[in-house]
């Protein structure tokens, strides 16, 4: 376990919660930059595992992945610190914004701003996907699972949870059959 203090972990996630605009998925590039690259608290391979695990559990994906990383860095209290950090700014901003709700929703500059933020979020997700792709060791097994999962998601529009469950079972079964036959 890392030497980072709980308070520091809380503030790292507080900052992440504050810049988390445009939906939960953008948390992946932010966590990668903040925890893997800047602070070296986590390696990218672990983060990618948590991304899939977070989507296969119920609840809010961004909260789940924060708790997984918090737990990895500092145990149970780390998970709590990360969770509290990630919800602090959103909680306060909703409490404040609730009273001026209509002004915010209808303001054309704010709507316009979020058009741009939305596109930036997609750019970040594309960049993350590219980077993960470059850094992962890919063998035939990887490529086959990747392509079939992608086709199932995009063309057949199955939900992420279904895809994760189906391909985890298929993948693990394939691995165990290969092992029994003595193939690597």
């Amino acid at each position: 376990m890392s030497k980072t203090s709980l308070l520091k972990l809380y503030f790292i996630f507080l900052k992440i919660g504050a810049i988390l605009l445009g939906g939960g998925y953008v948390i992946l590039p932010i966590l990668k930059a903040e925890l893997c690259e800047k602070r070296k608290l986590l390696n990218e391979s672990e983060l990618i595992d948590y991304f899939a695990l977070s989507q296969s559990l119920p609840g809010i994906v961004a909260a789940n992945i924060s708790m997984f990383t918090g737990y990895k860095i500092k145990g149970k209290m780390g998970a709590i610190a990360a969770l509290m950090g990630i919800i602090t700014v959103p909680f306060i901003s909703i409490i404040i914004l609730a009273s001026v709700l209509n002004l915010v929703v209808d303001n054309k500059y704010i709507v316009g701003m979020f058009w741009g933020v939305g596109i930036a979020v997609i750019a970040l997700i594309i960049l993350t996907a590219c980077e993960v792709w470059q850094k992962t060791e890919r063998d035939l097994f990887f490529n086959i699972i990747f392509l079939s999962a992608l086709i199932t998601l995009v063309i057949f529009e199955l939900s992420p949870v279904d895809v994760i469950i189906i391909f985890s079972v298929i993948g693990v079964l394939t691995k165990s059959i290969f092992r029994r036959r003595g193939v690597k």
């Binding site: 695990l53 979020v121 993960v132």
Partner: protein, 173 residues
């Protein structure tokens, strides 16, 4: 007791909603019909506010719904209740992963999760690309942002800032 009811409803949402923030909306709709703590119109507004406020949409909507139902205490109870079930599950899964890290099946599972994660990421990008980048301005902004990455810009908040500023400039023009 409205606090107990809130806790009960949001624990349920936390346990049964799969797939992130927007998956909680149908549950919130049910709550509105069942208890009348807020109207459907208010729920639509909540979703709009949640998506332009920092933080995960699911958390924002829970805070908002709790606030409309029972004030700040309600907001706190709804938000915390929503994340308790997955907190328990995350701890259990993390412990199992740690305990059985040498187990063949756990190792295989983690190997399989990598390509699945990659596919999920690409699918998210594809899914967002179609509705969001629909005109020439969107394509140009996207191209500019991707060019920054070739220049080696790494910080995600930089991209979000550029996107936001470009959006405001676009509105003014």
């Amino acid at each position: 007791m409205i606090y107990l009811l809130l806790a009960h409803e949001f624990l349920k949402i936390g346990l049964f909603s799969f797939g992130g923030g927007y998956a909680t909306i149908p549950f919130l709709y049910d709550i509105s019909v069942k208890y009348g703590w807020y109207t459907i119109k208010e729920l639509t507004n909540m979703t709009a506010v949640a998506s332009i406020t920092p933080g995960p949409v699911g958390i924002n909507v829970a805070t908002y719904a709790g606030l409309s139902s029972a004030g700040i205490m309600g907001a706190l109870i709804a938000t915390i209740s929503e994340v308790i079930p997955s907190f328990v599950l995350v701890i259990i899964v993390s412990k199992l992963l740690r305990k059985f890290s040498d187990n063949f099946y756990v190792k295989s599972l983690l190997t399989v999760l990598k390509p699945i994660s990659c596919a999920l990421l690409v699918a998210v990008a594809v899914g967002l690309l179609r509705p969001e980048v629909k005109d020439i301005k969107g394509i140009i902004l996207m191209a500019v942002l991707l060019l920054f990455s070739i220049k080696g810009k790494k910080d995600p908040s930089f991209y979000i800032l550029i996107g936001g500023v470009a959006g405001i400039i676009n509105t003014i023009l």
